[in-house]
Every structure is written in structure tokens, then in C-alpha cells.
Amino acid sequence: MTIVSAGTAEGGQELLSRSELTAKELLREVGSVLRLSETEAALLAEVQTEAPEDQTMIINMGPQHPSTHGVLRLMLELQGETVLRCKPIIGYLHTGMEKTGEALTYMQGGTNVTRMDYLSPLNNELVFSMAVEKLLGIDGDIPERAVWMRMLLSELNRMSSHLLFLATNGMDLGAVSMMLYGWREREDVLRFFQKVTGLRMNHNFIRPGGLAADLPAGWRDDVLAILEGLPSRLEEYDILMTGQPIWRERLQGVGVITAQEAIALGATGPILRSTGVAWDLRRDMPYLRYDELDFDVIVGQYGDAYDRYSIRFNEIRESMRIVYQILERMPSGDFRIQNKKVTPPPRARIDESMEALIHHFKIFTEGFKVPEGEVYEAIESPRGEIGCYIVSDGSSNPYRMHVRAPSFVNIQTMPHMMRGGLVADAVAVISSVDPVLGEVDR
């Protein structure tokens, strides 16, 4: 494969064929992840380089393969049906959202970050808002109701995201009925979001200082309807998939990763937990009021695709447990901070007060100024640690807005999980990583 590179000298992004790589480079790729001693790595490299070039071939899987969850392209080096090497090539959905983030005010920033991980938009907004609040120094003054509402939405979002994972995981592995069921249940949650925020996705509902609006009348019944309808359906999925021999055969022992490798690669979320590391930011570095809630961190043992499936499945149940507790304890009060600097005046005041009108106009046209500083905030999104690094220069736009996207890091574990496996299992691996390409490419 020849690479036509025009203009720049950075070189191609494609997977190189064996003849273009030295054995040392091959070895480095493997050895650094496995943390092998030099002799061990050399032994491994011997096996690896043994495959003669005329027996291997490099094929493209995607961009736009039906099971690659967005525009992901994998280059696989195959020997027969065995995957020897793999390289994910990303950037097909890159739209420069971090650059856009610098042009939007803190007030508008939510509309940008919510579009990154479009399956858990409320978590993106939450981490962005928390970072901005920290810079403003108001992170301790957020009203209780706003905090609990944020938790409610975040957990419901986790449920909808994991339900969609069940759907796509089923679809990728040929359990097409699961796809329909998963989308159906997720839609119940999205209908609730639509009622609360006005939109099914990309809500821009969690904003610096609180939320955009209070919960609508009858919200409690809607949440209860979701919570009461789901358990019987989850049991159906257990019969349909969890206990089913074909399903288990397809997932067990596939895409194995060890705890050491996951930590070395920076993987978080269900991938890290599947290796037996009980790490969940909600419990280990609590934010909002997660420390007051009672829930379990689901951990796997084997680090395979089946563990990752089971973890997400059971996290739906844990999220339901959390939502029940939130329903019981939801306090009354303000849904956003009453701080004139960041909060627009209530709609009713605008009709009677000229000052309120001017204030409203200024806050939406100019935004609010944020003191100089830099901050990194991280929360547990359904896919792992989502972090937001903001540098402020004292103006009303972020000087630099970086999002540490969990999928971007998790996708780098794929070559490692696929090595030595079958092509057919590659699909199971992609699916079990559950990447959202909007967030990978930003």
C-alpha cells in the first residue's frame, strides 16, 4: 500500500506492512503495553515476525462499516482469519469542537460539549458546568435541588446509554431482536428527557450555575413508570442473551485485557472494571451527592467482552437503585443559583423591570466573565472518566477548552484486545468497547 502524502512531511496514518517496519518497532508496540522484560518481548517478537509477508494481508474495515458505530476505520493485518495487528484510524468525524469551544461563551459552551458524546449528553454538560463553576468559585453554592436534579438526569442518561449499548451489542452479534428492544426502552427514557428539556438529545439543560428549568409537573410519575416497566424487560434480556449458550460462546474469552494493561493504556469505565479493578469516580472521588447514596460498583473478573456486557447490564440496575433513592430525597428549592453574575433574571421580572431586561440582554449577548485560572474536573460517564480542562484568561470565553473523552482513550485498547483473535471477534471487541465516535473525534 503506497501512501500519497502531499505537502506535509508528517507521514501516513495507515498501518504499515511488515516489510516497512523493523522488528524493534513491532516489539515496542507490544512490549510497552504488556510491560514485558526485554527477553520476554524478544520471544514474543520472534513469534510475531515469523509470519511471512506473503501469508498476511492488510484489510480495511470501514470507514462506514455497519458495525463500527460511526465512522471508525480499522486496518487489520490478517493471517488467514487471525488478526495479527490492528490500527484504529480516527478523525472522520473531527469537527474542531475544542476550537469552537474557544469561540463560544461559557453560557453557550453547553451547546457545544453536549454534542460530543451524543449518547450521554447530560454527562458532558455536567462536567463542563462543574469546571466552569469551579473557576467561578461557586461550586459549593449550587442549590440542593439542582444538585439532585443533576444526579437524576445523569443516572437516567446512564441507563439510556447502556440500553443502547445492549441494543448495538446485540445487533453486532446477530441478536437483532435485542436491537429493537434496546432502542425501544431507551426511547422511554428519551421521551422523559424530551418532556423535561424539550429535546431528545443535545439538551443543553445542565448549565453553569444549575439547570435551565425546573422539573415539569408529573415528572415523578414519569420516572416511576420507567423504573417499574424496566425490571421485567431486563429479565427478558437475561433469558434472551445472558444465559443463552450462543451469546456466551460469542463473548466469553473474547477481547481479553488485564488490569495492568488497562491501567497502562489509561482505559476507564466498564473496560477497567471488567478487569477486576473496582474504580468508579462516583464512589472513589465522589462529586455531587453520590457519597450519600447507596450503590454497588459492578466489577468483572476476566476482562473479556462478556464481563463488559454484564457490567453494563447490571449498571442499569444499579442506576435504577440510585434513581429510587433520588426520588425519595429530591429536595425542594431553586433549580439554579441566585447569583446575578451567572443567572439570567426570571422571565416574569423582564416584563416589569428595565434593569432586568438589560441584565437579561447582557448576559445572553456578552456572557459572564470568569476569573483567570485553569481547572480539570472529571466525572464518571457511562463510558468512563470524562474530564474537562478549561483555561480561563478572565474573559467570557474559555481560552482553552479540552475534553478528555473516555472513548478516545478506550478505543486505543482495541488493537490490544484484538491481537491474536479472529476477524469475527473483532466486531465483538468493537462493540464491547462501546465507543462513541462523536466523542473520539470531537
Binding site: 502524502s5 518497532e25 472513589d284 485553569e374 484568561d393 481560552y399
Partner: protein, 167 residues
């Protein structure tokens, strides 16, 4: 812990020979380029076993910023976020990278997970990570000119460039 918090007020707290700053309750360590790799290594040995994030910042539009601790502020900065799973704490390492020699050693040998982050930082800022096994662009097309997140790379004024398209 190798903290040497002095009893004297306003004394500079250091860790592995680098000044430590408190940024809104978060621990920030300023390392020089020469110290960079060895500091990350010492921190990894100390329990910061995971590198969660590595990114860059272009401070071109903030020429008069000060960092303190006698550190010369440069145009670029590489920001590394480390996490200790065992001790449940974070630390951020900030390194100044001058514009005329925008290179910094790679962390690949300590944290292989930084491979993609370093490629992204190179792609977006043009900071070269020496010793990186695959220093190519990751998000932009491979024949793209310029580094988009630099402050002198303007928004929306560049015609879309793609190879092979008839213009």
C-alpha cells in the same frame, strides 16, 4: 511522599524538585522539560499509575502571563493529568515548551496510553514528542497544513483541503 512542606510561611512546596502549586484546590506541579520524564517516572513509582490525559495549550494570546516560582512562561504548555487509583488523588504536571523549539520527550515508555494523546497534541499544536513511535496526525487528514488549535490559526477562514478532490 517526598513533600518537603516548610514551616515557614509562603515557602515553596516542592515535590521531586519541582514547585507545587494549588490551583483551585487541585495539585499542580511545574516541571521543566529536562525534569519532565524523570518526574513523571518518580510520580508513577509513587503511586500515580495512570495517565488519564495529556494535552497542550497555546498561550500566544496571553504573552504577559506569569507562573511564578521563577519559571519562564513560554508559548506552549503541555499539561499531563495523572491519577492514583490506590490513593484516590490526582496531580497535574505542566511543562513549558518554547515556540522556537517545540519538542518534548514522549511518555510512551512510562504510560503507553499517552500515545494517542501525544499524537493529538502534535496534530493540534505542532508540538513534537521526540521518541514517539508513530508521530503522525491523528484527527486531521494526513496531508493537512497547519495545526488548528494554535491561536494564530484562525477559525473558518481556511478553504477545506482534501487530497484527490477536483478543484
Amino acid at each position: 511522599m517526598s513533600d518537603s512542606a516548610d514551616t515557614i510561611e509562603n515557602a515553596v512546596v516542592t515535590q521531586h524538585g519541582c514547585p507545587v502549586q494549588d490551583s483551585l484546590g487541585q495539585r499542580v506541579l511545574h516541571a521543566s522539560r529536562d525534569q519532565y520524564v524523570s518526574v513523571i517516572k518518580s510520580l508513577a513509582d509513587e503511586g500515580y499509575e495512570m495517565c488519564v490525559d495529556l494535552t497542550g495549550v497555546d498561550y500566544l494570546a496571553m504573552p504577559h502571563r506569569t507562573i511564578g516560582f521563577g519559571i519562564q512562561a513560554e508559548r506552549f504548555e503541555v499539561v499531563v493529568n495523572l491519577l492514583s487509583l490506590s490513593q484516590r488523588k490526582r496531580i497535574r504536571v505542566r511543562v513549558q515548551v518554547p515556540a522556537d523549539d517545540a519538542t518534548i520527550p514522549t511518555l510512551f515508555d512510562i504510560h503507553p496510553g499517552t500515545e494517542a494523546h501525544e499524537r493529538e497534541t502534535f496534530d493540534m499544536f505542532g508540538i513534537v514528542f521526540s521518541g514517539h513511535p508513530d508521530m503522525t496526525r491523528i484527527l486531521m487528514p494526513e496531508d493537512w497544513d497547519g495545526h488548528p488549535l494554535r491561536k494564530d490559526y484562525s477559525q473558518g477562514s481556511i478553504p477545506v483541503q482534501f487530497k484527490g478532490a477536483n478543484s
